[in-house]
């Protein structure tokens, strides 16, 4: 996708290669997140009573809000033991949210408007929920693929495997299409009328950025919940 000026195109080593710019942007996001979480960790460690929330809006409050909301939604979907899966889901949510929000700053390309970034996230989710399924049920996890009737099992197995393989694909394409489409709409309208009109699409972009990160995290939770659930 063609893009106008970007800030990272001014850097010497990665100037003329869009893929290097993409990788650098992703590393940049990861570094920003690492610094923020390190400061939050330090501030929690230093405070005398961590249970009392801070007075003003800070990064600590932001992370407490995000983690609490994520745990609540995960408990609704998975049930007990939902905290076990928090590191992956919460990490994915915050990473994708920051990636999406970066696209709203002029001169930055959101890393999630590229298929490869999304593919790596989606493949991690795919491997992780199958691993958790095997860990929870052992070899009986394969029963999930077989369907209720024994005679139909061979046919159901093929259908289920295909539908499972489509899960990471649809996760990947959904995020890519939404973010790159949103970025392009913003691009076109700010090229057409640079005054005031792009503000509408920036607000829309804020909503899309949040909702897509939320959807990615929630769908990952649903997949994990389906893999580890016991049928009573």
């Amino acid at each position: 996708m063609e893009h106008g000026f970007t800030w990272f195109s001014r850097l010497p080593f990665i100037a003329d290669d869009p893929e290097r710019q993409l990788i650098f942007t992703t590393i940049f996001i990861a570094a920003v997140l690492f610094i923020i979480s390190a400061t939050v960790f330090n501030s929690i460690k230093k405070s005398t009573n961590p249970l009392i929330p801070q007075k003003k809006l800070s990064f600590q409050n932001f992370f407490e809000l995000v983690i609490q909301a994520t745990i609540n939604i995960m408990k609704d979907i998975i049930g007990h033991h939902a905290e076990k899966y928090l590191p992956l889901i919460g990490g994915l949510f915050v990473f994708i949210l920051f990636c999406n929000l970066l696209g709203l700053i002029p001169g930055f390309i959101p890393p999630t408007s590229n298929l490869y970034t999304n593919a790596s996230c989606a493949i991690i989710v795919f491997v992780y929920y199958n691993y958790q399924g095997f860990k929870e049920h052992g070899i009986k996890y394969l029963k999930h693929f077989a369907g209720p009737i024994v005679i139909l099992a061979p046919m159901m197995f093929i259908i289920e495997v295909i539908s499972h393989l489509f899960r990471p694909l649809s996760l990947m394409i959904r995020l890519y299409g939404n973010i790159s489409g949103d970025h392009q709409v913003l691009n076109i309208f700010s090229g057409l009328v640079p005054l005031l009109v792009p503000v509408i699409f920036l607000i829309l972009g804020l909503m899309v950025a949040f909702i897509q990160a939320f959807v990615f995290a929630t769908l990952s939770t649903v997949y994990i919940g389906l893999a580890v659930s016991h049928e009573h």
């Binding site: 939604i73 609704d76 979907i77 649809s170 394409i173 959904r174 890519y176 299409g177 939404n178 489409g181 090229g191 057409l192 009328v193 640079p194 005054l195 909702i211 939320f214 959807v215 929630t218 769908l219 649903v222």
Partner: protein, 110 residues
């Protein structure tokens, strides 16, 4: 007071026209005389995303309408309905996005 407001609105409108007119003028100038195949590919890309948006719009409209009916009947259930509602919208939207990706592929063929 009213006159001043009118004047401000007129100035803003004039600025819009001023800013947007060179862009609109440029569009007419470039008309590439492509072959038949290119035109058909463009038509296909436009139809793909247009029809997908039509279907997705109907589907999402039904979803949002039923969710609002549900909330109107039982406002207490609004919190519990939020996650399935967003997930339903996302599933419908993903179908439209497949068409969007295909339209992009077609545009790449032109």
């Amino acid at each position: 007071m009213k006159k001043r407001r009118m004047a401000v609105m007129l100035v803003v409108f004039g600025l819009f026209l001023l800013v947007s007119s060179p862009v609109l003028a440029q569009e007419g100038a470039e008309t590439s005389g492509g072959s038949m195949a290119k035109g058909l590919i463009g038509l296909g890309a436009g139809l793909a995303i247009g029809l997908a948006a039509l279907g997705g719009g109907i589907g999402q409209g039904t979803t949002a309408g039923s969710a609002q009916q549900g909330i109107a009947r039982n406002p207490g259930a609004a919190d519990k309905m939020f996650v399935p509602y967003i997930l339903g919208l996302a599933f419908i939207e993903s179908l439209v996005l497949y068409a969007f990706v295909i339209a992009f592929l077609l545009k790449g063929m032109m």
